[in-house]
């Protein structure tokens, strides 16, 4: 691609680099280089060091969901026997993989695939997964590896039942990292490049630094940032955090937000009336609906757990890898209820929120089951009203717009009543 990125706005950079990441993967495949499918919070540092092109099935599935193409993929997975109780990211991806596989075997593109709005990504030569956000990702990636007969790298990250994270956990995870490195040396047939590894880690830290700058912007009242935007921008912190794609885009976005703040340009056109934290994944097939419903109520999202989820700050020069291990295990959904509550409380406070919306996501059990309890505790600590709604991130059959609307409207009314007092 000989496009110049100079003068591009953050939004354009986002679209450009998202497309470029997919193109990189297709080019790698065409050259006969390795392509890896990766879990969203698995460390990409090792593969990127080895020059492997990365594809992120969760982000890919989210994109398919947002473009209203999820049902077709889900049906393929249904027919393969995946229960509708399984995570819909996994099912969308399994469906997509099946279609790619059929295409590779028969040389013909299945009609569903040809008509799908899905971004085109190539089949993987290896997969890497990590259970620091859920254990579904283990079975899902194992299945990918078995179905495609390719290697599967697993980074096992134990759940943190207590905080702070014990030293032995960090040392265990650092060993997992070293194990992944030796697996990669075998897969690639050449030694791991530690010098490049150093650079990749530094790059990752620069991306994370810029990402964290964005997160701080929703603190201001009125806010220059609607956290709904993070649902879009997160694609790059997931898929390109070890490349400069993420750093460049986030720096631009953070700069824009800072300029807007100075110029008095805010995210909510018209005055924001109430501010909420959204806990949970977006409802991708209804992203526009959920956004508009809140907007119509004068409600802006100034709290989101996403920034923190990828706040993978660590010491890039720590050769014991304990610091990096710590970053990849302290993800709030991999920690005890008490810590989860504290993390969310900080988000609510940082966003100066008046209420909280919890997505009880049929797909994501770990996040959702804890949320019932989390909500009660946060309500006790802050007194802020909250609502929970049933939904699913990419299975449109598990979300009812009217039910969502009733709940968030009632929340807005409760928030306004509190403010009137």
């Amino acid at each position: 691609m000989s496009v110049t990125t100079e003068g591009m706005k953050a939004k354009e950079l986002l679209a450009y680099y998202q497309a470029k990441a997919d193109q990189d993967a297709r080019d790698a495949k065409a050259r006969g280089d390795l392509v890896c499918w990766s879990a969203s919070v698995a460390p990409p540092e090792f593969c990127v060091t080895m020059g492997i092109a990365m594809v992120y099935p969760e982000t890919h599935a989210a994109g398919i969901g947002a473009k209203k193409g999820a049902l077709d993929m889900l049906e393929v997975a249904d027919r393969k026997g995946y229960s509708i109780d399984c995570c819909s990211y996994g099912r969308v991806n399994m469906g997509y993989m099946e279609l790619l596989k059929e295409q590779a075997i028969t040389g013909k593109t299945p009609e569903v695939l040809a008509n799908s709005p899905a971004a085109k990504v190539p089949l993987p030569d290896l997969v890497i997964t990590c259970n620091n956000i859920c254990n579904t990702l283990l079975k899902w990636y194992e299945n990918l590896a078995v179905e495609l007969d390719i290697p599967c790298i697993v980074i096992d990250v134990p759940f943190n039942h207590t905080m702070p994270i014990p030293e032995y956990a960090k040392s265990y995870i650092a060993d997992q990292f070293r194990n992944a490195i030796s697996q990669l040396e075998v897969i690639c047939g050449r030694p791991f490049d530690y010098k490049k590894f150093q650079e990749v880690r530094e790059q990752t830290q620069r991306s994370v630094y810029q990402w964290n700058r964005i997160a701080k912007m929703s603190h201001y009242k009125p806010s220059p940032l609607n956290c709904f935007d993070l649902f879009n921008y997160m694609a790059l912190i997931v898929a390109c955090r070890s490349l400069d794609y993420a750093e460049i885009t986030f720096k631009k976005f953070a700069d824009e937000l800072e300029e807007n703040l100075k110029a008095g340009v805010y995210a909510f056109k018209g005055a924001e009336k109430t501010r909420v934290t959204w806990e949970g994944i977006a409802v991708w097939p209804y992203l526009g609906h959920t956004f508009k419903s809140l907007k119509a109520l004068g409600t802006i999202m100034t709290g989101s757990a996403y920034p923190g989820l990828w706040d993978l700050s660590y010491d890039a020069h720590d050769e014991s890898l304990h610091s990096m291990a710590e970053a990849y295990t302290r993800i709030y959904i991999n920690t005890c209820l008490e810590n989860k509550v504290n993390v969310l409380l900080n988000i609510v406070n940082n966003g100066q929120c008046d209420g909280i919306v919890y997505h009880l996501n049929r797909s994501c059990k770990l996040m959702s089951f804890l949320n019932v309890e989390t909500a009660e505790i946060i309500k006790e600590k802050t007194g802020l009203p909250y609502v929970q709604f049933d939904g699913d991130q990419t299975d449109p059959r598990n979300f009812a717009p009217a039910q969502f609307d009733t709940r968030v409207q009632a929340l807005a009314e409760m928030m306004e009543a509190n403010m009137a007092e």
């Binding site: 009733t406 409207q409 409760m414």
Partner: protein
């Protein structure tokens, strides 16, 4: 001054016309809800009863699932706030509301000023709602308005263990074919609805007085089952099906006063 509240629900349409935010001059129910001729018919009935027209209404507030489909309103307010408003007006001692309608069951906690402290609603499932009872009434060859009578004659409650409406339906059918007493099955069905609704109420933390509202509150069998389950006295709101519309009419009154004040300034 007259104001109107219209509650376009999933199962029924309700209209209340208020005089000066106090006297109910019309309260009408049509047993079909959003997307049907129900809202229009309920409106016409209310105008006929009161002898008033749309022009006489200082403000109109719509609530319920079909609130956005009803175009002739000045404002839309969620049914949670409207039920709270209506009930608090009728029963100022109310602190816990259980509303069971056609597709929703909800528990609402009120503070001492009638404000909504918290609410819980059923998830995307017909279990424990009016729809569940409608389906059961059909297999039991009766109508919802006769269920309470049968319940009263029952010697025991036959437990219905399935939550899923379809599974519960076949459970009822199999009990019937085993020759189990029909009234006892009905009592069991009521028990099942009550336990779901009470689950929501317990989550919000119970506080007296507990008031039931919504169409299902007209079924004394369910009310008795709720009282047994909660182990406390349960008050049924007067004309329980129209409390949401009443709340909307009360909000319309506040709205009208506000509009008048703004107009004068």
């Amino acid at each position: 001054m007259y104001t109107m509240g219209i509650d376009v629900g999933s199962a029924s349409s309700k209209v209340v016309i208020l005089e000066d935010g106090k006297r109910i001059v019309a309260a009408e129910v049509v047993q079909v809800g959003t997307g049907s001729s129900g809202p229009q018919r309920a409106l016409e009935m209310a105008y006929k009863t009161s002898g008033l027209t749309r022009e006489d209404m200082a403000a109109v507030v719509a609530t319920g699932y079909g609130r956005f489909a009803f175009e002739d309103a000045d404002k839309q307010i969620s049914e949670i706030s409207c039920h709270a408003k209506g009930i608090f007006y009728l029963v100022p001692t109310a602190r816990t509301i259980i509303d069971i309608g056609g597709q929703d069951a909800k528990a609402i906690r009120l503070d001492s000023k009638g404000g909504v402290k918290q609410f819980f609603m059923n998830d995307k499932c017909a279990a424990g709602t009016g729809r569940f009872l409608d389906v059961m009434a059909r297999v039991l060859e009766t109508t919802v308005d006769k269920l309470a009578e049968c319940d009263e004659k029952a010697e025991e409650a036959v437990p219905i263990s399935s939550t899923c409406t379809v599974f519960a339906e076949s459970e009822v059918i199999s009990q019937l074919s085993k020759g189990v007493d029909r009234n006892s099955i009905i009592k069991g069905v009521h028990q099942s609805v009550a336990s779901k609704a009470c689950g929501l109420a317990f989550r919000g933390g119970l506080e007296d007085d507990v008031v039931m509202t919504g169409g299902v509150a007209r079924n004394a069998g369910v009310v008795r089952a709720v009282a047994r389950e909660l182990k406390r006295n349960v008050i049924v709101a007067p004309q329980p099906q129209t409390t949401g519309a009443l709340g909307a009419a009360l909000f319309a009154y506040e709205e009208a006063k506000k509009m008048k004040k703004e107009g004068l300034e």
